[in-house]
Every structure is written in structure tokens, then in C-alpha cells.
Symmetry: C2
Amino acid sequence: MELKYQGKTKDVYQLEDGPLLLKFKDDVTGENGVFDPGANTVGLTIDGAGRAGLSLTTFFYKKLNAIEVPTHFISSDIENATMTVKPATVFGKGLEVICRFRAVGSFLRRYGAYVEEGQKLESFVEVTIKDDDRLDPPISADALTELQILSLEEYETLKQRTVEISNFVKAELAKKGLELYDIKLEFGRDAETGEILLIDEISGGNMRAYKGSEYIEPLQLEKIMLSK
Amino acid sequence: MELKYQGKTKDVYQLEDGPLLLKFKDDVTGENGVFDPGANTVGLTIDGAGRAGLSLTTFFYKKLNAIEVPTHFISSDIENATMTVKPATVFGKGLEVICRFRAVGSFLRRYGAYVEEGQKLESFVEVTIKDDDRLDPPISADALTELQILSLEEYETLKQRTVEISNFVKAELAKKGLELYDIKLEFGRDAETGEILLIDEISGGNMRAYKGSEYIEPLQLEKIMLSK
């Protein structure tokens, strides 16, 4: 099996018969030894972080596949921290699609003149481009089409899917007494059919969750969500 | 006459019978003694800069009013560097609407992974919020409506007007052998009727112009455009 790509938190292997194998690592993003899903650098290694992220990802993907949301998920092997997925090509060099239910993080940093910290937002969707050197800048629908990263029709699909998936995740968190503040998703085009698929992971590292006014760290979130 | 507001490059006075009087100052934005229209700080004072900016602004506003583009312009007094305008309220705390014909400046800094410097763009419109502390961040149509800064209908009007006005200015520059790379415009709502008006100035300080591969500084641009 051939190593195709080494990511910050996952390695990607090509399987012989078509699918890809994602190996979840114990490296997590953060700065100064603190796990920060919004950070661009790998800050520390936590034993079991890969398996925990994969467990929650598997939990959500199985539910999403069951309601027929198109995703790249085929199967997972928690013990070995691997997930088998359909190959997909990303938009441009990769986009992150964020859905916000409360104004925190980079949204608050940008628009603090117009919102209070934690103010409710209406399933607000925005896109950022994955570009560590340029600090993942936000990009408008018009700029995405102008730069031929995607078509306006594809943008509308991404936006609708993001609202749908994010509200699904929000409802799952609510069952455990948690509130989803924001979540970032990734999409790609199915390498065979061109269909738009949800890709990458859906774990604590992709979202900010609170219990009342208390921020729940990614590993804690995974523990709460997967407890019986 | 009452001083209402002191800006970086203009002071605003309330006239008794309704209109406002804008006094163009000789202070220009820039850093380290270099006139830079994109800068947020007043860097230097150039004798005659206020009158030069007003002259070019008057040139464009008279032409725009003649083709019935709604603007705040009533009249100007070049000698005293003042312009009389209809009062208008800005959107939120003020927006800048940028039309780009070539990828330079902050667009290139943000999206350099997808464009070459100077690459042609199709009358590309984007909006930034005026917020010196947050370095005038770009903002999407969705965020503008989410934050109730304007309605989606108003956004579409701004965008259409921006394309129309910017292409008009581009054509005027082309008559003098100059190429417009980008321009930033401001709009407001007519304080009486609510109609969307083009406001502020349209001078060298609002645009980037080139003659072949040579950048033309704002004061030089004003000289070229107003020469017979």
C-alpha cells in the first residue's frame, strides 16, 4: 500500500482496488501545548487522540450515510485507527466550509465591530481556503467562481449540504446536553462520478462545543458523545 | 457652520439648509512618507493634494450625474477645496466596495495561491468593512445580511452600481492611455429618500492606475486625467 500524502493529523494511503486508507495519527493541532482545532500547526501528541477522532468520525458518518447524505466514508477500523474512503478530489487546493451558530473564533475577530462574543447566528456559512502561509483567508462565492475553484451551482450545493449536516451534528450534540457553536467541514468531488461528497473527519477537532458556558475540549467531547 | 466629523483626509460640516460641506485636506494616507491609497494611516501632507483630489472627484461626479447614476454630489468649490453634498447615512459603520480588474493589493495577498500578480479579473466586486483596528476585513454578502448591515437586495444594487461606475471610470482612464487595476467606492442611503447613493470622493486615492507596466501615483493620475 502506497503512502500518497502525509498530513498534519492523518496519513493517506492508496489501496490497490481503488479506495484510500486514512491513518489517524495521535498528533493534534495546537500551539504551546494546547489542543486548538483552529490552529494551523501540530502542537502536541496525545496517546489515543487518533482513535478517539476516528470513533466520533465513524459515529457521524454512519448516521449521515443512513440518511443518504453523500460522504466518502466506506468503513473504519478503530483498533488500527484507519478509515477506508472513496477517493475524491478537493476544490482547488482545498476549502473549509464553516457553519456558525454563535459568533466566536475568526468570525468574532473579523466582525467584532458588529457582533457580541457568543451572539447567535442563523446557521451562517462561510468558506475559507486552506493556505497555511496566508492564514486560511475567507473567500466569497464570487471569488470562488472568479478563481474557477468551483461553480456557483457547486457553491450552492456546498452551502445547503453544510447547513444540513451542521444542523444534524448540532442535534446530536444537543442530545448529550452540548451546544454546537461552530463546525468546519470539507467537501470533494467523487473521483469517479464527480458527485459532491463530505470528506475528511468529523471529530472534536472540527468543532467548538460548549456545555452551558463551559468549553468542551475535543477529547472530552468525543468521550461524552460516545458514552452510552 | 458646524463641524460634524473630522476624517483622515476630509472634514465634514453641516450646512444650515440641509446639505453637508466636505473640506478636502492636504493630508494623504500612507506609511513612511509614501502616498499609499490602501493605507489606513495619514502618512504625510502634500500641498495641493486636497484640491487635486477634489478636482478629479468633481470631474467624475459631474459625468456620473449626467448619465443619471445617483450620487451625493451637488457642487464643488475647487479654490476652497470644498464639496457640497446631500446627507447620506452609511451602511453599518461604513463599507468599501472594491471593483478589481487585475489581481493586486489585498486580493493578491489573500488569494496568491490561485492567481498570478496582475492577472485579469472580470469586474470582480468585493466588500470590506471600514475598521482600522481589524484592518478592514473583507465580508461576504451572507455576512452583511446576517449582521443586518444591509439587505440582500441592497447588496445586489451596490454590486451592480459598482460594476457600472467602475467600468465608467475605467473607460475614462483608457481615454488617457491609462489602465484601471482596481477602485474602491463608498455608498450610503440618501438621508431623506433612502435611495442608494455613491458618496465620498473618486480621486487618485481611491484607485490604482497603470500606464503600461508603470504605476501612476495618485497626484500624477489627477494631473493626467485633468490635462486638456
